[in-house]
Symmetry: D2
């Protein structure tokens, strides 16, 4: 089976990390991306707490949890670095979080568009080879997410991993096709 | 028994209402004030939804529900009108909400200080005569709050109501003393 | 307005009380009756915990909370005194509970039929004069139930209370009419 | 690493299955055993619904979910077949459930004793070779349980599986020792 190689993140600011992260640098680990907006009720009540539980359940050598602030509405209200920093602090979300790069023309932010996300919360599971294996929009059960991440952890990194990465040159903002 | 006359609200902006409200203009009705910050987890998960349930349970001729955005930390993050408007819209809180006037020197906002609130969420129940009858900090059970508001509704407006109001001249921003 | 006088309870066993109770002996207090079956999921997760919260919220001089085990299915499974006693103990429900008298012919038990209950959980609110003021089937919000009980508490006992009781002789299993 | 071979179930009655099950017959699949009592609040609110979610999440070719009614108190109240059948029906638990064999002398039932369970709910995860890999008492998070079951699913059946079984002769009712 062929899977889509995950487009690289396009970000403007990071929280809860000393340096910006790239998907390429995380190759070899399963990556869980929680795309959210701080004023999205379903993200606050469900998506982000679930991401925190993922963080607390898996070994960080195997699984990396990332938040991605993907604004597609209320840009003026949700956009500031100070607001997001206070939000993460008050809710005690401790995984690295990036602000998805805005297009500057309103509408969905860049990484959100590259992945074809339908809204927030969206949850993406990337395998150790950096390929998108699951892409959810809305609420998913913990038991299912836990099982799927564990399956990716135990799958290991395939031998064609490096090839998959070097074939990556047909990727653009619209996504990557094999 | 003597109760403290509720200090008037000191606000800078209102949402979900065509005109600013004053406690004086609401005399004759029970007033429920939910003091909150939009980045306070307990306010979002408990206090504000409870206020919305109060709104939907009682007759608006008897009970007026007000939200009061009482910032005492993360002023830059929580302060903007656009952010609060988007927040109220996304969470579908439909009762009138005011921004409590900041002191301009940081720290708790003016009405918050006048009432001696300890933090957010705080819930105040004012009787039909505008007196503070309950003042809670933190989480309170719905069944108890429902019962206490109903008790105030059925109490009616006492005959000494007007006197109580005109005796109000020893009130200042620091609160009212008997 | 006229309200239906509550038919007297027809019971076979009581728990959490030293002596059987009658509605007549509770006249003067608001009575809250939670009709349930121990194998009814909605009763266990919602109705009975709500009744316990009512017990813990109101003054016992004003409000009496009663459980009524109204079996209308799985008679053999739900019927035993030992099972119900263990159930009440394990779930820590501390209000008095009665077993509604079975008809001996299967189907809904006697008090359940007398009140025309549609199933479990059913919640009945009786005023201080022993009249049925609210009759709910299924799930109701705490804030609303708290408000309605408080309203009955503050209503007081009407002056025609004693008359209402002595006129009570046209009551039968089908209900009472004033 | 050595793991304890799971003692065979000792049961008196089965529900939700056309024939009694044995752990031996399930070798090759991961087995999830939810030990419960029908009057145990934590089992009803948490343990059994979690077992149902496991059932609905994993492929039945990989994972078998079993309920085990392990009575250690209120024997008379919890013991009847009719009561347990009605309970499973009303709560819509659809996985196979067995009644753990009572000792006839009160106290914990036989399988419960063999596994050294501390109470209910207890959750046991057995690998495809029939070895106890996890043994929990009380509440565990879905995300963790989902991950652990998935890990066992992906582990596969080891080549020494048959040997492990035939070495099983030092097991008795008191459990198996390495």
């Amino acid at each position: 089976m062929n899977f889509i190689q995950a487009p690289e993140l396009q970000t403007t600011h990071w929280f809860n990390t000393t340096a910006p992260l790239t998907l390429e640098s995380l190759r070899g680990r399963v990556v869980v991306i929680e795309a959210f907006q701080m004023l999205c009720p379903g993200c606050v009540s469900h998506g982000l707490p679930q991401a925190q539980r993922v963080l607390e359940t898996f070994d960080s050598d195997d699984v990396c949890v990332l938040g991605l602030h993907t604004v597609f509405e209320h840009h003026a209200a949700q956009g500031t670095v100070e607001a997001l920093e206070a939000f993460l602090h008050e809710y005690r979300f401790t995984f690295p979080v990036a602000i998805d790069a805005p297009t500057g023309k309103g509408g969905p932010s860049k990484t959100m568009t590259a992945y074809g996300m339908r809204g927030t919360p969206s949850l993406l599971l990337l395998d150790r080879n950096g390929r998108v294996r699951q892409h959810y929009f809305g609420r998913e059960q913990d038991i299912k997410i836990g099982a799927e991440i564990a399956a990716l952890v135990h799958e290991g990194q395939t031998s064609d991993s490096h090839t998959a990465q070097t074939d990556d040159n047909q990727c653009d903002d619209g996504g990557c096709r094999i």
